[in-house]
């Protein structure tokens, strides 16, 4: 499974080489970057259809605690393939419908994809930090607006740099306490550390993840950034950046914190995971309510992302098998559904030149497919039955009801938030569908069709295909997520801890002997 390295090495190599074709975007640079992502997508699908048991890939030829290793299983591959798909859709959209961008746009999308793959695969805490920083740097640069105020993106830079510094401080404290950087190794030593070391490092490292997940007190940058950034970047931010942050947070939570149970409770009442659960619940409900009040289409989608990540954080902090499965399902559903929603929002914005959703009135009359895409995306995010979000929310309810009063409160909040989110999203869909302005102020009658031809359908249909597959036939995903959960919890033959330790043996790791 050394082929998994290709998901990191190939986009990086392409990113280094593509600027040699010229600084200005040309036919060659565009097709080179699309081709790279396309062949990675093909590789991902091929690896998923030829499943092998979960494996550890050793980098640099040194065994895990000394070198860096990757853990590759079906869930990680699915997630990385999803990132590649989202990146491909975003790049395709930008080439077809976006403004003119220099070649560094394509380059940064490739770098972001590599960072997503690295953050999902890696089993080393510092390496995870490096990949999160790569993702942040490229995401900040991508969302710098071409026109208009860059204040949102400056705040994005500020929040992520400060949280990066905090996270590094946490890693320093943790390293000097535990003397290792491998996640599995850290998990084994975590319980023997002094309580202050555990508290400081746990809080500081989680802070880094929370900012990148847009959890409530740290989300301030997100709406303004989403509003000013090109729509394709909104797709990347909500599909790739939050997804990789959420998965890394879960990895840290599951391998090192052991579900938060090993942290000493504060004054006996309030445990660490309960605090995270509270933050997640706050984010879920306030994000959904903010969607109701929001007039701007892209900011609406930003709040939808924030709300969805709140639910993911709640599921992560519950930590039982069903909740973890819910978190993984929600990450997928969110990326896919939000991809479609941003696709429509981007087209509507580029056609009407306004991002207030009220101005999109009647676009659906000219091109009904826009409305269909919007409703499909909304159904995925909301979780209508037989859509991916449904399986996530269903299994969240199952997991939460196991956890007593906290869980029941969470379910109640989820219902309220889902209602608010549905109202907000369906209202926009209705506006899209409505006839243009009998009383309204439709400035210009929409032209014949938003767009047509292959270029229009290809990106959306790829996302829809995955949505339908995941909604109608979730058993493949459920199996993968369940085995991943038990592997990370150390309860299966292919447990992460066991095969990471065994990776030293050459027959397991598939290392060739020195010639």
């Amino acid at each position: 499974m050394s082929a998994a390295v290709a998901f990191i090495a190939a986009p990086l190599a392409a990113a280094f080489l593509i600027p040699l074709l010229g600084t200005r975007a040309s036919w060659g640079t565009r097709s080179a970057s699309l081709l790279t992502l396309g062949s990675l997508l093909a590789l991902g699908v091929w690896m998923l259809t030829h499943p092998v048991p979960p494996q550890v890939v050793i980098l640099g030829g040194w065994r895990p605690p000394f070198g860096i290793n990757l853990y590759v299983d079906a869930t990680a591959l699915m997630l990385v393939t999803l990132f590649v798909l989202v990146a491909l859709a975003a790049l395709w959209f930008q080439h077809q419908h976006g403004q003119e961008k220099p070649v560094s746009f394509d380059v940064l999308v490739l770098v972001l994809t590599a960072a997503g793959a690295g953050a999902v695969f890696t089993q080393d805490l510092f390496n995870l930090f490096v990949f999160l920083e790569i993702a942040t740097v490229s995401a900040v640069a991508l969302s710098a607006p071409q026109t208009g105020s860059p204040r949102g993106v400056i705040r994005y830079w500020l929040f992520s740099s400060v949280s990066g510094a905090a996270m590094l401080l946490g890693i320093a404290v943790l390293y000097s306490g535990a003397g290792t950087l491998n996640l599995v190794d850290l998990g084994a030593r975590w319980a023997h550390l002094e309580a202050p070391v555990r508290w400081v490092s746990g809080v500081l490292i989680l802070l880094g993840f929370l900012v990148k997940m847009e959890i409530m007190p740290f989300h301030v940058w997100a709406p303004a950034t989403y509003r000013r950034a090109p729509s394709s970047v909104g797709l990347l931010l909500s599909g790739v950046v939050t997804g990789l942050a959420a998965f890394s947070a879960w990895k840290f939570f599951a391998l090192v914190l052991r579900g938060g149970a090993s942290l000493p409770p504060v004054s006996g009442v309030f445990s660490f995971s309960q605090a995270l659960f509270g933050l997640g619940a706050l984010t879920l409900i306030l994000g959904a309510l903010a969607m109701l009040a929001e007039k701007d289409g892209k900011r609406l989608l930003a709040f939808s992302t924030i709300s969805a990540m709140g639910l993911v954080l709640m599921a992560i902090s519950l930590g039982n098998p069903r909740a973890v499965r819910a978190a993984l399902f929600l990450i997928f559903a969110h990326a896919l559904g939000k991809g479609l929603l941003f696709f429509v929002a981007g087209l509507a914005t580029s056609r009407t030149r306004r991002s207030e959703w009220d101005a999109w009135r009647g676009l659906g009359q000219a091109s009904p497919s826009l409305v269909w895409f919007w409703f499909l995306g909304a159904a995925t995010v909301i979780g209508l039955p037989l859509f991916p979000g449904f399986w996530g929310k269903l299994s969240f309810v199952g997991g939460a009801l196991e956890m007593g009063l906290w869980g029941r409160t969470g379910v109640l909040l989820l219902i309220v938030a889902t209602v608010a989110e549905s109202v907000a999203l369906l209202r926009v869909g209705h506006v899209l569908w409505e006839r243009p302005g009998e009383p309204a102020t439709a400035a210009e009658p929409p032209a014949a069709c938003a767009c047509g031809g292959v270029s229009y359908w290809a990106g959306a249909l790829a996302l829809i295909a995955v949505i339908l597959w995941m909604g109608l036939w979730p058993s493949v995903f459920t199996r993968a997520f369940t085995s991943t959960q038990s592997a990370y919890a150390g309860r299966s033959p292919s447990s992460v801890a066991r095969i990471s330790t065994d990776a030293f043996a050459p027959r397991r790791a598939g290392l060739k002997q020195d010639r």
Binding site: S2, V5, A9, A13, A15, F16, L17, P19, L20, V57, I58, L59, G60, G61, W62, P65, F66, G67, I68, P102, S104, V107, L108, V111, A115, F126, N127, V130, F131, E133, I134, V137, S138, V140, A141, A144, Q146, P150, V173, S176, G177, A178, G179, T180, L181, L193, E194, P196, V197, W199, V200, F504, A505, P506, G510, L511, K512, Q513, D514, R515
Partner: protein, 252 residues
């Protein structure tokens, strides 16, 4: 009052962190200055026969570069370094992307001539910077330093050349150097995958400890990094220097 609250909060954070980390047994545990990982790295048996790098029963860790920090940066944790190089690359490309399409100075910017002192001294200083930069980069496996400081020195020379002669290095050449260096890093990684079965594994054996040619792949990687860092830093200075000074125009 508006200044007091932030000060108090920051002070509270510092006091809290200090109280948690710098008292009693926690402090002794944190700052004992050794760890299982670090001690094992320090005890590399670098003077043994040609290293058998992979597989069980290898005698611990062998890397022939005398500088243990370099061995960690480029060998044991070489994957981090690939990421580090990528961060810098993404940041410079991102600065270019952020400033794309913004108004720039015309083809012939109104530029003051460099002063006599600068133009006279520049050749000597530039030569010195280049020689020292290359030496630092090439001796990274023996002495403190390596590709990053070496590349920064080379970039300082290039920037000095830029400001003394007024001649800007062409973006295309900088991109060429940067891209080829980055691609070579990945290629070295793939070569490790092909010959040693592991991405970024060093594919040659080591020599005698302390010799110049003791760690050939380390030298190669640090040379690549030095070229990449120097072209990237020069590119960053060039990108930021070419945009219009916002304080020149009146506020709208």
């Amino acid at each position: 009052m508006t200044r007091l609250l932030p000060a108090l909060v920051s002070l509270a954070v510092v006091v809290l962190l200090g109280a948690l980390l710098l008292t009693g047994p926690t402090r002794d545990g944190l700052f004992r200055g050794s760890s299982g990982l670090g001690d094992t790295f320090s005890r590399r048996d670098a003077r043994g026969p040609a290293p058998d790098r992979v597989g069980p029963g290898s005698r611990g860790l062998e890397n022939a570069s005398a500088n243990t920090v370099t061995a960690i940066v480029l060998d044991y944790r070489g994957f981090d370094t690939l990421g580090e190089v990528t961060v810098l690359f993404a940041a410079v490309a991102g600065a270019g992307l952020a400033l794309f399409g913004r108004r720039r100075r015309g083809q012939a910017p109104p530029r003051r001539r460099a002063s006599l002192i600068l133009t006279t001294a520049a050749p000597f200083v530039v030569l010195f910077l280049f020689v020292v930069g290359l030496a630092v980069a090439l001796h990274g496996h023996l002495t403190p330093g390596g590709g990053f400081p070496g590349g920064a020195l080379l970039a300082a020379g290039l920037v000095l050349l830029m400001s003394s002669t007024g001649h800007e290095p062409s973006a295309r050449r900088l991109h060429l150097l940067e891209g080829l260096a980055g691609f070579s890093f990945v290629t070295v990684g793939v070569a490790g995958l092909v010959w040693k079965g592991s991405f970024l594994a060093h594919f040659t054996g080591g020599g005698a400890l302390g010799d110049f040619w003791s760690a050939p792949v380390t030298i190669l990687l640090y040379l690549i990094i030095a070229l990449k860092v120097s072209s990237e830093l020069t590119g960053a200075v060039r990108t930021l220097a070419l945009v219009e000074d916002p304080t020149d125009k009146e506020a709208p």
